[in-house]
Symmetry: C2
Subunit: 690 residues, 2 copies
């Protein structure tokens, strides 16, 4: 008979094998114990409120889910006001709630856009109302017919001089605003992107504050057709009422145009903004936040998978030994199979690398913000390209990693109760929004092409992260470059790893540059065009993202060893050792996964490739005893995981059994539909006796 | 103002560019016009019945969905009886219905298992009742605590000599049957796998027919706790009541054990079966069917994506020209971007290759069946290994391909109304069921290790698909082997492509064999064990699957050109030309995706790798005019696609708009929750006037 306490014993026992101080590791990840404490405090604030209970989510249809989303939104707003919470704490509340709510774009876009693009008077008018939720806003850009291509939006705002108003109009349904979170049911106002038209002249897309629903009774104003666009893939965004809106010659006052940059005077004179790219800052922020989110998501996914695979036992493999103090008759813990470790542990390493990348990217954004506020746009191009490349790469591996964790969990992985299905459904749209992950890679490629030119003409001006381009200055020597690995252990040297990534980036960038020039340059419309090079843009952009991810993870570990740090800030030396293993795994596994890029030009030799694969296996095996400790260090409470299989006590089977007992279908002995459908079928050919 | 007929014009215009006869291509895919006609007839049979309408699926919660599933099941059973349909037609009905129903395992497992493992008397007793749906069955193998490892199932069937009965028992909840489709609400009977115990001796897992619910009132019998296990990931299998069951010393008659192979006499004497592997046939069938299903799924997914991307326009790219007769002011059709073509067209090629593979695999199964029925098990090992390798590979690329199609559709791809979200949710569990896709690859690896031994000792006995192993007989010569490509066009030679796949398979198989021997062989429990080699098993198994997929597709096209065929059976020569392009794309793109495997041992040179990439781009570009024709040839009617964006008329935006208008939330002007949550929030700080 199965020992029903075995699951808990297995997880508890795995914890005893951890080689490092888990709390110290947590402090490293969240950059200090103060942040760890604050995060715990905020998550607990949410966990205590019944409205945020997640137990019945799986059974809500879209109608019920949106109503729940509205209730949760209102409470979220109240908690923010009651506790006077800042943006960071708000983000942590949203992390704890773990679903997209109708109100998210109010703080996430409506307020920031007005703050960024409104005049001081406009900010004074709208922001206090928004901060007190006396109005609720959303951000309406995408249309049914246009997403990426802003300049072809069809919604128009025509200046009506007689009444000093804008007439907002959607000529056809393809001009309908579409996908707008918060618009379907909850918002009272929207910031709307529309083509500004004066006297028949189109001045391009601008933003307008548009009242949508009456503050008296919440009914949409006459002249606006508004609603929910319907359910999303995989049950994702179920509580969000992504909406549509069509405007029929709908009038708003002239001053509802946000006029910090472009302006329109009372008599209809249009003034252009001083610099077209000043609004890029908010894109950089949104993309930087996504990288951090991927760290949080993938760390949750690996937490769930690691714990479940530690307690799940299947087959008795005599040499994948159970521990000495375990009953030898027990089957093997699934996490002890090398195949499982080689799929799972690189994802744990990725999660750690994502934490490091998220921190650096956020620091870069804050630096940029400081620059921009003093009118210095020198760093804008690089930071914008970097945030684009990383957004594309990190959200790709985030979504794929969460799904891989689910598959690692085998049959039970297909249950909703893993907690991972909900997660993938929430992550995967990030591969498309805030810039499609393929289209977005053109940003870094364009940036690097400029850097290639700089490398040729003014090598000292190449920015730090593009310095690898200088490797290729001597083309002959570069084409003969090979990897320095002689002994297998050489793979563990950070400089060897970084050299490989730099070589690959330099080669791909030069190949792209050569191809573009051979096609007559980017401006030659008779030759090859930019879009002919987009496959190569994707390759170099992801290669660059992988390079900086590896670099930043290595640096982050070095920084954690800084002898100048206070005792309290210093990371446990044993934790550092494990971090170094993770960093090696992250670097080497990334090379292995993209091996052709390193081998096809003979940079790696036929001897080095198998030695790389062997090193990856060795590093993976060396992490086995620390796997549970490493995911515990992510510090995700059970409320956040919302997983029957990944809870901290390891009692997976019991929790899965208990969850099934809560299934509404099980309230009845005989199912709905028996009398109507089953019985007539069974009795069609008469009664039988068995 | 946007031309609302443009979508339809675009798709219609694309069709005019097709270079081949679409009907002839359809006949090639379905192996003859008779099959095409029959498939259309059966799909129409389903499409005509209101109960199978898919319009409201997105809004059903699990409770309502299961009731719908039961209603659909009953009607499906009736249609089968009314029209006296065979298994193939039944499969087509299920394809048309496009969801898993509570009744599917009745025909899919309950009946086949009784037919395969029951005595003639047992077949005579149960099958007529089942064929007339006087009983409804399911198949209960997996338990909460055990999936893959059959020998550790915990459910017991203990022989009670006194009463000539079996006592079925689940000692703990980990012994509960779990994931059993049809068990949660609908079935009256289950075929249950349980450990057979006589006088304290455990004779291993055997199958028993177990009454679950009363034929009088459908109530579960006393001694059985039964219910639904809860919702599944991504909203998949929503109409299926995957169930659990726990037995508490539940008695059934001795003759309910299926006794074709093992037997137990009245006085409790157990007799073993003559051959342990005779039951493998049904596994081969299920896996072979899955390959065919992946062809159908991926062809649907590419149909939807290709049509939508043909009508979707975004940005105006001057040299990705619109056709001459189009308005030059129009934006570029998204399908004209090379990046999009290079992601989409390889998936179309994969779908075609899957059709070929599905046919060959099914023929192999039928051949095996004939062999087995005459007691010849000679082919069993190879066919079993092949079906395992292909199931693992094909369901992996099927699920990933459907998801890639969804992502290709950009923002709107995240709408439920693409039809692709439902599809991925239905496909992806196939990566785990019928053998986890990682675990399953061990079958082909084990088979090939035996073939390596045969190649060394009796080379003439190596089976045809493993003949590549003979390449490596001379290890020295083999290690110096290189790819024969000199001119880029050489990549288009099938013999060059096949040689590359053969070389790679031979290398990986020899490396695995060497590693296993170096570890002391598989039986040495002191050395490396089998599970240490499982990563390499996965590599060689997928490599082998890719090799036969490429080979079978090439052969299938050659067969279609057989001069002995009747006019009616012969495929249009222009269709053959396009098939050859698809075959080239399939082979070369597969090499490109796995390039490291071909380059890391220097089989491919640093010159050949870029020429391969260039060839892939060229072949992709050469297929642009035929993309819509190629997916039209899959012959999937709109009812089956159930997609607002992929319908045959191209009217994507209009359909998406119309679908949104059917969203239940939109029936009200003011949303549920306004009075309760939104109004109090808005008014918390008093009334405002704007």
């Amino acid at each position: 008979m199965a020992d029903l306490t075995q699951n808990k014993k297995d997880l508890a026992h795995a914890r005893t094998k951890t080689s490092f101080d888990v709390a110290s590791m947590t402090n490293y990840l969240y950059r200090g114990s103060g942040n760890v404490e604050q995060r715990r405090y905020i998550i607990d604030l949410i966990a205590r409120e019944p409205i945020f209970n997640k137990d019945d989510w799986a059974w809500l249809n879209h109608t019920d889910a949106v109503k729940r989303g509205i209730a949760m939104s209102a409470r979220l707003a109240e908690i923010k006001m009651e506790n006077d919470l800042n943006d960071l704490d708000f983000a942590t509340m949203v992390e704890a709630i773990d679903d997209t709510l109708p109100i998210l774009l109010h703080n996430g876009a409506f307020i920031p856009v007005i703050n960024a693009q409104g005049t001081d008077e406009q900010i004074d008018k709208w922001i206090p109302l928004a901060e007190k939720f006396q109005i609720i806003g959303c951000y309406a850009q995408t249309e049914l017919g246009h997403g990426s291509n802003l300049s072809s939006l069809e919604t128009t705002a025509t200046f009506i001089k007689e009444t000093d108003e804008w007439e907002i109009d959607s000529t056809t349904f393809t001009a309908a605003k579409w996908w707008i979170g918060g618009l379907g049911a909850m918002c009272t106002h929207a910031v709307v992107q529309a083509k500004l038209i004066i006297d028949g002249t189109d001045h391009g897309a601008h933003v307008f504050v548009v009242p949508i629903r009456s503050l008296e009774d919440h009914k949409p104003f006459s002249g606006i057709q508004v609603g929910d666009i319907g359910p999303k893939a995989y049950g994702g965004f179920n509580k969000m009422e992504n909406g549509f809106a069509r405007f029929n010659k709908y009038r708003i006052p002239r001053e509802n145009m946000l006029m910090r940059f472009s302006k329109v005077s009372r008599d209809g004179v249009f003034t252009k903004p001083p610099h077209a790219k000043l609004s890029y800052g908010s894109m950089v922020l949104l993309r930087s936040v996504l990288i951090r989110q991927m760290a949080l998501y993938l760390s949750r996914a690996t937490t769930i998978a690691t714990r479940y695979l530690t307690v799940r036992r299947q087959f008795n493999n005599p040499t994948q030994r159970n521990d000495a103090d375990m009953n030898p008759g027990l089957e093997t813990q699934v996490i002890n199979y090398p195949m499982v470790q080689n799929r799972l542990f690189p994802l744990i390493a990725s999660a750690y690398a994502l934490f490091a990348a998220g921190s650096v990217m956020m620091d870069m954004y804050i630096g940029l913000l400081t620059d921009l506020s003093s009118g210095n746009i020198g760093a804008l191009a690089e930071v914008h390209a970097m945030s684009s490349a990383l957004k594309s790469y990190c959200t790709t591996i985030g979504a794929a990693g969460a799904e891989e964790c689910r598959k690692l969990m085998g049959g039970h992985g297909y249950s909703y109760f893993t907690g991972l299905a909900h997660m993938f459904a929430s992550i995967v749209p990030s591969n498309t929004y805030e810039g499609d992950n393929y289209v977005l890679t053109q940003q870094m490629a364009r940036y690097l092409l400029k850097e290639v030119k700089t490398a040729k003409t003014e090598p000292e001006k190449v920015t730090p992260y593009s310095k690898y381009l200088l490797l290729a200055t001597n083309r002959d020597a570069f084409s003969r470059a090979t990897c320095a690995v002689v002994q297998p252990e050489d793979w563990l040297k950070p400089e060897v790893q970084l050299a490989a990534f730099e070589h690959r980036c330099a080669r791909l960038a030069m190949e792209l540059s050569d191809a573009v020039e051979a096609g007559g340059g980017l401006d030659d419309t008779n030759g090859k065009t930019w879009s002919d090079h987009n496959i190569e843009c994707y390759r170099i952009s992801h290669a660059h993202a992988q390079y900086v991810m590896v670099l930043w993870f290595i640096r982050s570990i070095r920084n954690a060893q800084n002898p100048d740090l206070d005792d309290e800030e210093r990371t446990d030396p044993k934790a550092i050792q494990v971090l170094q293993k993770l960093s090696n795994l992250h670097a080497l596994h990334t090379i292995q996964t993209n091996l052709a890029d390193f081998a096809e030009d003979a940079y790696l030799s036929p001897r080095q490739c198998p030695s790389l694969r062997a090193q990856v296996k060795d590093v993976v095996a060396s992490l086995a005893d620390d796997a549970v400790g490493l995911v515990d260090a992510f510090d995700h409470p059970d409320f956040l995981l919302a997983s029957a299989l990944g809870a901290s006590d390891g009692d997976a089977y019991k929790r899965l059994w208990d969850k099934a007992q809560t299934e509404p279908l099980n309230r009845k002995d005989v199912c709905d539909g028996y009398e109507e459908y089953i019985r007539p079928l069974l009795k069609k050919h008469g009664e039988i006796k068995l």
